[in-house]
Symmetry: C2
Subunit: 134 residues, 2 copies
């Protein structure tokens, strides 16, 4: 359980590749896809999601392509993962009130809350800089 999907994996590979490029090198989607071994059409969707929230910047037309929206040390793994996989929610009952209808005083609730916190903390503590250097 708790497994990252293919999409999440691809997303990380793709953006880490971008982070490893010289700061203002505009990269073609097709090049990125080839480099990280991901279907270009699929990666396109992923980068569209990145683009919407500013994780990457995109340019169309001749000479277009992608580059990182911010410097690598300002993008965390948490942002990348949540961008494509949605928020980290181990159990529906952590979402908020009204979800845990079965049990007003649900004992499991705080446990999942804790899990969520730990996972988020770990992922938030890692930046693209660390993942791309060397």
């Amino acid at each position: 359980m708790m497994e990252l999907t293919r999409k999440g994996e691809y997303a990380i590979r793709g953006i880490v590749y971008l982070a490893a490029q010289p700061p203002d090198r505009v990269c073609l989607l097709s090049d990125i896809a080839a480099a990280v071994d991901v279907p270009a059409t699929f990666l396109a969707k992923i980068f569209q999601q990145f683009s919407k929230i500013g994780l990457v910047k995109s340019y169309r037309g001749t000479g277009g392509g992608f580059l990182l929206g911010r410097t690598p040390e300002k993008i965390t793994l948490l942002e990348v993962v949540e961008a494509v996989e949605g928020p980290i929610i181990p159990n529906r009952c952590v979402v908020g009130a009204g979800e845990c209808v079965r049990d007003v005083s649900c004992k499991v609730h705080p446990v999942w809350k804790r899990v969520q916190g730990q996972v988020r903390d770990v992922l938030a503590g890692v930046t693209l800089k660390e993942l791309s250097e060397e």
Copy 2:
């Protein structure tokens, strides 16, 4: 992402209910299913998995049913969850050597390892006793 499936939810509900019963009260599957509001046929599958690894004991025939395999304080949430959802593996590359073929020195690897550890620690720290009392 990282969401517990319905199966996992049902599993927890079912076994927590058992843990809340008097120690040697044998419970009918149909009663448990009704009490925790889970399809009986589905819960049957779940309890079969529990039974195989000794998390619950089962008795067939007239007067049969289920009871907890050990005392509630000796069963952790981690065991329950892993029994039905499989091991907690945030990313395939934490499984072991040979999986992370793309990158011998995969930088993301240790991060997922850490996530895995944290999640397991939280879940291992909670027993059915705590979840079932009061």
